[in-house]
Symmetry: C2
Subunit: 316 residues, 2 copies
């Protein structure tokens, strides 16, 4: 039986870990979920990561798959060269955790650590909606707004691995809405699922005491609720402002839009596209050549991308 | 006498051509200026370029310098892969001019064509204010606002060589000033020398019938004229908004600021820095680690950078 080299990819979410066995061709041979417990402190989560990796290695063992590396995607501010999670807004207690070293020592395999949104962007570039392009910007519209940038086939990381923080692009410089980060006018304050729900809740007239959910907003908008439609449309317009600036900055071939809010594509994206095309530099047909596409890999973008980065670049 | 390989760099401005003999170490062995005539149509300008290159080759001839390539920096929208000037707002009549092929055929040398702002950014990265860094964003505040981006030591060009159009970043999405490009709220409508002078002219109370110049604005501000200072400060604040978004997008190590307006550093840059540091993503010390530096190469940035791109990447 010929050996097939595989990378073990991980994507660390707020409520569970996703792990997968990924081939050099992007094929996912096996994917598992491991729910995180209530305690999201580093120690129990790292135990869970180790357990998940053990489970995948046991699965590979006896089959033709030989894990050659581990690639970890994690949320928050990642110092990639150091292999450290510097800070993660959604993971209390995680400060300067040297996750790459810990997992590398535990598994004995070369290990990489990447920002989860970067990993997802690389996944879509490699195997998803961005296949065949070289220049891509991805937005993940979820609880927050994540971003990732591929330029000329390479992940744009910046000097400390912190490029692509697109949720905190300023789209309303004066009197913008307050963002979780403390600034005003960030894209995330308009186009995240959290923001959309918060704006809906302001004048919520639904039944019962429970506040509305993103799904409520979506269903109401689909029924033609004007207020809801306006909230989605405004989210789209601000997304378009950010896109126009990214067109001028990076001249991408395609924007990939993923995350839960991408489900409301027809309510958000037309407004985004209109704003982007009217705002991007006028001297050329730059903006009209940019495509907007839905993410294709869903929840697997992060694990596939994390693995793809290793296949593309090797381990750091 | 040992032969020294050199690249002939050119920087094409609105009123004159600058050409130079540049070594692999960045040394400028010879630089010349050739003023352009009144007729800026392609034919006479291309004649002038050819004449300038002939002059430099004659100078090299008999010395130890052997030109191995030509590198052209030109303003406007450059389709780099095709080697074509697509459109140039300041060069009437230039539409889809295949400058690389024309000069390549005329000189018989491998020839590259690059956007002039990209070339200047690469020059500052290679030999100027950005030496020793890998991640840089340059603003040229002149008649317009130009930009150039280096990420991980490589020029960011985007899918059609049109990345880095930073003058047309939207910094005032709602009710912004009208820009030359037809959009509202572009950075160039606030932070170009043209914009600063136009705003000053609105209420100009100076002597005589002639409108104020950028130098008038600078001198008035230096004398403490409140209106002038406010115009510069506002230019700086909008520059800072753009910078904050670029910090979040690209995580650079340094911003380089060049062009005529960089002379008014103390009137523009403190406001830019304050806005940038308060607006960039809050979860980390990203913004506080970014340096702001003055461009060091002056008028030679473009020719040095054009040559440096060839030394770094070879000819396309």
């Amino acid at each position: 039986m010929a050996a097939t080299r595989v990378v073990l990819g991980m994507d660390m979410g707020g409520t569970n870990l996703r792990l997968a066995v990924v081939g050099a061709d992007g094929k996912v041979h096996r994917a598992i979920n491991r729910p995180l417990g209530r305690d999201k402190a580093p120690r129990p989560v790292i135990e869970e990561i180790g357990g998940g990796l053990d489970e995948l290695r046991a699965w590979c063992h006896g089959r033709e798959f030989v894990p050659v590396a581990v690639s970890l995607g994690a949320p928050g501010i990642i110092a990639r060269e150091e292999g450290t999670i510097v800070f993660s807004p959604n993971l209390p207690g995680w400060r300067d955790v040297p996750l790459r070293r810990i997992i590398g020592e535990r598994t004995g395999l070369p290990t990489g650590l990447e920002n989860d949104a970067n990993a997802a962007a690389f996944g879509e570039y490699w195997q998803g909606g961005g296949r065949g392009t070289r220049h891509l910007v991805m937005f993940t519209l979820g609880t927050g707004v994540g971003g990732g940038i591929i330029s000329d086939g390479r992940l744009v990381r910046g000097s400390r691995g912190m490029a692509g923080e697109l949720g905190h692009l300023t789209v309303a410089p004066r009197d913008g809405l307050l963002c979780n980060c403390g600034n005003r006018g960030c894209l995330e304050a308009y186009a995240s699922a959290t923001a959309i729900v918060a704006r809906l809740a302001e004048n919520w007239k639904g039944d019962g005491p429970s506040p509305p959910t993103a799904r409520d907003a979506y269903l109401l908008a689909r029924e033609g609720d004007e207020e809801c439609l306006a909230i989605f449309r405004e989210a789209g317009t601000y997304l378009g402002t950010a896109m126009a600036n990214l067109v001028n900055t990076l001249n991408p071939e395609v924007f990939i839009i993923g995350g839960g809010a991408a489900e409301a594509w027809e309510m958000i994206v037309p407004a985004a596209e209109e704003e982007m095309r009217s705002r991007a530099i006028r001297f050329t047909d730059l903006a009209s050549r940019v495509a907007l596409r839905k993410a294709e890999l869903g929840d697997l973008a992060g694990v596939i991308g994390a693995a793809g980065i290793i296949w593309s670049e090797g381990c750091p």
